[in-house]
């Protein structure tokens, strides 16, 4: 199922359709179909990440694109993985919450550390989505204003109301341009 070769694209041979994409630096290729270990055309990216790749850090709450909990980064953009079909991901580079750590040193992303330092979570269910949304946003806009952060995160649901501590955590990273 998984191979270490990167940047492969779809291979069509013997009428077998495949979809291949990179997740957290590792290339994965699946046969499109309805068998075990195959990707069904109806599978969402969140389903595949959780059920085929075992990446449980991506949380699914509403499963209809309303809450932002399942946000991952696809080709640099924050996307709702419950609203993306896996078969649409061919050739994409995807980063999930598990892939934010520095792969060589194991160091946390500055945003992850800031969320710890500011206790920017309560139950933590929305936190991976918040961090991924914020990471994609800061990559595009490293020194945003507080208002811009609020706008960027306006699609992320949090019921515990961690918002105020989240804003402080993101601002602390933004001030350093990280």
């Amino acid at each position: 199922m998984a191979t270490s070769q990167a940047n492969r694209s779809t291979v069509q041979a013997d009428r077998v359709r495949r979809v291949g994409f990179t997740v957290n630096g590792q290339y994965h290729q699946f046969v499109v179909g309805s068998g075990p270990n195959e990707v069904s055309p109806s599978h969402t990216l969140s389903w595949t990440l959780r059920n085929s790749l075992g990446l449980m850090g991506t949380k699914v709450s509403c499963d209809m694109g309303a809450c932002g909990c399942c946000t991952v980064i696809s080709d640099g953009k924050a996307v709702l993985s419950c609203k993306v079909l896996t078969v649409e991901c061919d050739g994409k580079t995807i980063i999930t919450i598990e892939g934010l750590k520095d792969r060589k040193t194991g160091a946390l992303d500055p945003l992850q550390q800031a969320f710890i330092d500011h206790t920017a979570f309560q139950c933590g269910y929305c936190t991976p989505g918040m961090i991924m949304t914020a990471r994609a946003f800061l990559n595009e806009n490293p020194r945003p204003t507080e208002e811009e952060i609020k706008e960027a995160l306006s699609g992320n649901f949090c019921r515990c109301i961690s918002h105020y501590q989240v804003i402080r955590a993101i601002m602390s990273v933004a001030e350093k341009g990280q």
């Binding site: 949380k59 919450i97 598990e98 969320f115 710890i116 649901f157």
Partner: protein
């Protein structure tokens, strides 16, 4: 202020912080189970109907289906209060009620099988609100409850369980009053606390009579207790908790979903997972109780409340496990905030054909207060009194007391909260902004500002028994045995802090068992605001007991009396002669030391939260914007500053303050369908519209807690909604009495649109 402690009150990372930010924290839906089947529920399309026939043969024949169960296939298991509600019944009582259960190899197959079950119904007339349920001759939701009135009281709270408040001389109270206000006021928008994580269970049955249940509750031991009763005490139940993705009280009433998983596992001999979709979470899980008060209140011109008389109607939905307890606690909470000598307040629990009510943050008190405050406001307006002064004057203080849930009178043994209220008023600028009733605090063109205030307190801080063990090991570490699943408050980390403080070892030397009822002693769970005082005291007692054992083992080796010993950083030493010391290690690696702690309920204390709110009303559009909140409290001793901040900020969500402006479950009053059962149509606050929140937290040592603290988490939501209603009324210049104050209701109050029902349940 606050004590001078090594760990308590200091900000430090939560024990689970690293796991949460890296995605490795495991919630129920993240756990892997071997040989797992997936369970799904066929739900009723009718609010009230009899099932006349079920044909499940086609569903059973579908490849991959392992079991299909209907009311005819299951044991006589019942739950709720009174414990008379069948897990599956021949009658369905709300749109979404369970008709059949399916277990299959995949969720998709289970869903397909649901479509293959043929059900014939005899549709009955539903009763969808209190008025229609109480009409003479109304259809009965349950045949055994005439008039749709569910019996009050619950065995859980004892034979004198509070069902009403009747004390003093109400006639005299009204004759002593300078003003009397009366009317009917409700808080009936049945908001959903709506944690991000849905609700579910995995059950693994072992013949003949054992089951293990993995749940989404923060209180797994209580799951075990509740399920044991449902199974007629004939099944050995083990319950295990994981990380909980928010609860706000709601997830302690998961017994039905857990029972579905148990039934399917029993039928198939394999583990079965039942996981509610978000639509089911919104439309087929528990909601807040609906609350309506028809009452009158007497008041003197100095703000003394002289009499309260009337009836509190509680819409419980089709059934509930907790409503009787919520009624009992809610009455006590009203008495804490309204020290009145003369009461005649009756209660009536009404069954209606909508989804069940259940435990929700605020637990009866919020619902009653939100109904009562508009009435009290009328009296305060008549007497021309500042609501801040009246609320402060009537809040319980030393010398006062209240009836609590068990029907007993408790002399209040806590602190005077008026200092915190004054500090909050000063921070808010209450005296400068208050211009009188129905008068805006500022007007800027079409925008008008108004202010409001509310107060709430709960004696649940010391409710229910708590038990914990603390185990010491020779390597200077300790383990807490406690049945608490972390649901966001950070209390598990606080328990490590408490033990760290008692044993004087670093919190990172302390670990905690999983919340597993087979491993830990009894624990009621982190509900209400009992985490700090009730659970915390049990943990502290366990650590103290372990420390005493440690000292009794070390004393002979050091040649001193155990009473002369102290410990710090894994070393025991004589207080007066620190050179006489012994490392824990010297006691041997073949030994562990176990201390056990128990907390007995204590209702003599309460907490207090006063909320000051400022709103801006756009008189052109009717939109209400919550501009600023000041939350004032006294917690005795802060355990964890960011955790406390999070709990207080949480006032907005979880069917809290925002239930005054936009949060509501919209129930069709004709068909019984919930019309906004998704996260787009159910409105929630976004980052883009955050009000300013300021917290004023005093630390006046509380008398009974070892470290002088008291919990306040639950009540953060409670005083807010009525304060918002008051603020909007003041801004607009006319009374608004219905939650939520939607733009339609504001424009109607301003006379800009025609009357009729706008917003809210309809």
């Amino acid at each position: 202020m606050g004590g001078n402690y090594r760990y308590i009150g200091k900000q430090m990372p939560r024990m689970d912080a690293g796991a949460i930010v890296t995605g490795s924290a495991l919630y129920l839906d993240d756990l892997k189970f071997q040989n797992l089947l997936h369970g799904k529920v066929l739900r009723s399309p009718y609010a009230h109907a009899l099932i006349t026939q079920v044909d499940k043969s086609k569903a059973e024949a579908l490849p991959g289906v392992a079991a299909v169960l209907t009311w005819q296939d299951i044991p006589e298991w019942m739950g709720g209060t009174p414990r008379r509600l069948r897990v599956l019944d021949r009658k369905v009582r709300y749109v979404g009620d369970a008709v059949a259960l399916v277990a299959a190899e995949t969720e998709e197959i289970a869903e397909e099988a649901l479509d293959l079950i043929d059900v014939e119904y005899e549709v009955l007339q539903p009763v969808l609100d209190i008025d229609s349920a109480l009409k003479p001759g109304a259809p009965l939701v349950h045949e055994e409850y005439p008039g749709n009135i569910i019996p009050g009281g619950t065995k859980l709270l004892g034979p004198k369980c509070l069902k009403g408040l009747c004390t003093g001389d109400v006639a005299k109270g009204f004759s002593d009053a300078d003003v009397i206000a009366e009317g009917t006021f409700g808080y009936e928008n049945i908001p959903n606390a709506l944690p991000a994580e849905s609700v579910g269970a995995v059950a693994a049955w072992e013949d003949p009579d054992k089951v293990t249940v993995w749940g989404t509750s923060q209180a797994p031991y209580m799951d075990k207790v509740i399920l044991s009763h449902v199974f007629n005490r004939a099944v050995q139940v083990r319950c295990i908790g994981s990380h909980v993705g928010g609860s706000f009280g709601t997830k302690i009433t998961c017994w039905q979903i857990q029972t579905y998983a148990v039934l399917l596992s029993k039928a198939t001999g394999r583990p079965v997972k039942v996981w509610l979709t978000k639509e089911e979470h919104l439309a087929a899980f528990t909601l807040r109780i609906g609350s309506r008060i028809q009452a009158r209140v007497g008041m003197k011109n100095d703000g003394t409340i002289t009499a309260i008389q009337g009836t509190w109607y509680v819409d419980s939905g089709y059934y509930s496990l907790t409503t009787q307890t919520q009624v009992a606690v809610g009455l006590g909470e009203l008495m804490i905030m309204t020290q009145c000598p003369n009461w005649d307040l009756k209660t009536m629990i009404v069954a209606t054909n909508r989804t069940a009510s259940g435990c929700t943050r605020g637990f009866g008190g919020q619902e009653l207060e939100c109904s009562f405050m508009p009435l009290l406001s009328l009296a305060m307006e008549k007497a021309g009194l500042d609501p801040f002064e009246v609320l402060k004057k009537n809040y319980v203080r030393p010398g006062g007391g209240y009836f609590w849930r068990d029907g007993e009178w408790y002399q209040y043994g806590g602190i005077d909260f008026s200092k915190a209220m004054d500090a909050g008023a000063k921070q808010f600028g209450w005296k400068e902004k208050w211009k009188g009733w129905l008068t805006p605090s500022a007007v800027n063109g079409s925008k008008r500002r108004g202010i409001g205030v509310g107060v709430h307190g709960n004696a649940d801080v010391g409710e229910d028994a708590a038990e914990a063990y603390v185990q010491l090991r020779h390597d200077g570490t300790a383990t807490i045995f406690l049945c608490v699943a972390e649901h966001g408050t950070g209390q598990k980390s606080n328990y490590a802090k408490l033990v760290a403080e008692v044993l004087q070892i670093a919190p990172d030397r302390i670990s905690m068992t999983p919340a597993d009822s087979l491993v830990t002693p009894f624990e009621f769970g982190p509900v209400g605001s009992r985490g700090t005082y009730a659970i915390g005291s049990a943990v502290i007692a366990a650590a103290e007991a372990a420390k005493r054992k440690l000292f009794s083992l070390a004393a002979p080796k050091l040649g001193v009396d155990p009473g002369e010993l102290e410990t710090a950083d894994g070393v025991v030493f004589a207080r007066a002669h620190p050179e006489k010391s012994l490392k824990w290690r010297a006691l041997g690696s073949d030994r562990t030391i176990l201390g056990s702690g128990r907390f007995e309920p204590d209702f003599s204390l309460c907490n207090c939260l006063m909320s000051f709110v400022e709103v801006e009303v756009d008189t052109e559009t009717g939109k209400v914007t919550l501009v600023r909140l000041v939350l004032a409290t006294d917690v005795g001793q802060i355990m964890d500053p960011p955790g406390l901040e999070g709990q207080l900020n949480g006032c907005l969500g979880a069917a809290g303050v925002d239930s005054a402006t936009f949060e509501e479950t919209i129930l069709s009053r004709s068909s019984g369908h919930i019309l906004n059962a998704n996260m787009i149509d159910y409105k929630w606050r976004t980052f883009a519209e955050l009000p300013v929140i300021e917290r004023v937290v005093l630390e006046t040592p509380m008398p009974t807690h070892r470290f002088h603290g008291v919990g306040v988490g639950e009540v953060a939501t409670s005083p807010g909604p009525s304060a918002v209603l008051m603020a909007v009324s003041n801004a607009v210049g006319t009374w608004l009495h219905e939650y939520p104050v939607t733009p339609a209701r504001v424009l109607q109050a301003l006379g800009k649109v025609a009357g009729g029902k706008g917003g809210g349940a309809r």
